[in-house]
């Protein structure tokens, strides 16, 4: 858990534009994200936050511009890039029929980090406040608990890039605080966190960067705030 990620990791976008259904979501977005940064993507509903995250994951190739991971085009890094990545979207691949433990086991197995043993999974589930729920089929869990199951991956997998889409949804106050801690800890270890949330992240603002996507009365502007750094 305490490993440091190599300091040269970097994700950068050049002239990134995306047009969906004949509507420009964002135009000419430029940013560099280096290890140790937490990037919050802000914007109103429908401004393309989720789309941007999915593009950065490599799930969508419907964009123009270049994305580079460690100075190499992302789509050429392929599985090397995906091995460095955890993406938790709106739906995080939690099957309702399987138990929390089975779901996590599979997710860890296909992410090819040598898998995880039951003890690690039980520990992670305990960290997200789900001890005792390991063997419960997830359709019996509440929305917040389901969310926590998917977030438990963050405690086990050693991937440097976390791309989280609204991770705080349906999570109680206590949980939000813990997750925030986890996110900034990850950044402190040299990892990258890119997330969207309407919740205002406050802690250690020096590590926080904002990318604003906003649809301003027909003109599409994207701006990058560098708070500190």
């Amino acid at each position: 858990m305490d490993q440091e990620y190599p300091s040269e990791i970097m994700l950068s976008a050049k002239d990134l534009s995306c047009c969906r259904d004949d509507r420009d979501l964002f135009v000419n977005l430029n940013f560099d994200i280096v290890g140790g940064e937490v990037v919050q993507i802000v914007g109103s509903n429908g401004s393309g936050k989720t789309t941007l995250l999915r593009i950065l994951c490599g799930l969508m190739d419907d964009y123009s511009g270049d994305i580079e991971w460690c100075r190499e085009p992302m789509n050429q890094c392929g599985e090397l890039y995906r091995a460095q990545l955890i993406h938790i979207g709106h739906n995080a691949g939690i099957n309702p029929i399987l138990t929390a433990e089975e779901n996590l086991q599979w997710l860890l197995d296909i992410h090819g980090q040598g898998g995880a043993d039951n003890r690690q999974i039980a520990e992670a589930l305990a960290r997200v406040g789900l001890s005792g729920y390991e063997g419960v089929e997830t359709h019996r869990l509440s929305a917040g608990q389901k969310r926590r199951v998917s977030l438990a991956r963050l405690y086990i997998e050693g991937a440097p890039i976390w791309i989280l889409d609204e991770p705080f949804t349906a999570i109680d106050k206590e949980g939000v605080r813990e997750l925030e801690n986890l996110i900034f800890q990850h950044a402190n270890r040299g990892g990258i966190v890119i997330l969207t949330t309407h919740h205002s992240l406050q802690e250690t603002a020096s590590r926080l960067k904002r990318i604003t996507l906003d649809d301003l009365s027909g003109f599409h502007e994207a701006s990058v705030d560098d708070d500190g750094v």
């Binding site: 739906n91 939690i94 296909i110 980090q113």
Partner: protein, 232 residues
């Protein structure tokens, strides 16, 4: 993260996916038996609709059983990626650093184990219902054993192409049926040859060739289709 456990994690990813799919199927028994009942029902319609005459039923039996098997695997294919698409599993599958074709093969194999294989095991019963001679059973079972996996692979292409659509159902049948024709021809041809007391190894060999072709090529088509469906 060590490089040395890579070979381990390749097979681990494959078998873990297979195990997961089988677990899900096992917990939804009703989904499991539906295609089987459909299979039996379609076959039992023929004596009612065509003729209860044993001699007629015996002649049409190979074709009827094959068509019923084809339709039942198709019925089951609609759900192949649907739930995964809805709960985000598909995204995680695509984000896996493991080769996608491997995971896709695992999914199709489990699909076959839960439909095609069971249909094959059930087919002697239906052959008896249609008064088929018992010495042709081996041709029927072997042809289904080799042919149904091909059907499953082709169905999976259709399912992957239509998974993002609100109204997939009938479209899958429309786009995959033409592709099923060779399997149908050689499958029934195999049983037919046995009925004519001709050697049927040739047909089995062709079915085998089709199966190998499906295993080699279909996973790439399925993978590409899934990427398109998820990004769309």
């Amino acid at each position: 993260m060590g490089e040395d456990n890579q070979p381990l994690s390749l097979s681990r990813a494959f078998f873990s996916t297979l195990k997961r799919e089988l677990k899900i199927a096992n917990r939804q028994r009703s989904q499991l038996v539906n295609p089987l009942f459909f299979f039996i029902m379609v076959v039992s319609l023929f004596p009612l609709a065509v003729s209860p005459e044993p001699s007629i039923l015996r002649t049409i039996a190979p074709g009827v059983i094959w068509i019923a098997a084809l339709l039942s695997t198709m019925m089951a294919a609609d759900a192949l990626f649907k739930h995964d698409f809805e709960d985000g599993t598909l995204e995680q599958l695509l984000l896996s650093p493991q080769p996608l074709f491997l995971l896709v093969i695992a999914k199709v194999v489990s699909h076959w184990l839960t439909t095609g294989l069971l249909l094959t095991l059930l087919s002697p019963l239906l052959a008896a219902m249609l008064f088929m001679d018992t010495n042709h059973l081996s041709a029927l079972v072997l042809s289904l054993l080799l042919g149904t996996p091909v059907l499953c692979f082709v169905n999976a292409i259709g399912a992957a192409l239509t998974v993002g659509l609100r109204k997939g159902g009938i479209l899958i049948t429309l786009i995959t049926l033409p592709l099923h024709i060779p399997v149908l021809i050689f499958g029934t041809g195999c049983v037919q040859a046995s009925v004519y007391s001709q050697p049927y190894q040739g047909q089995l060999a062709i079915l085998g060739a089709l199966l190998v072709l499906a295993i080699v090529l279909a996973p790439f088509a399925i993978g590409a289709s899934l990427r398109i469906s998820v990004s769309g």
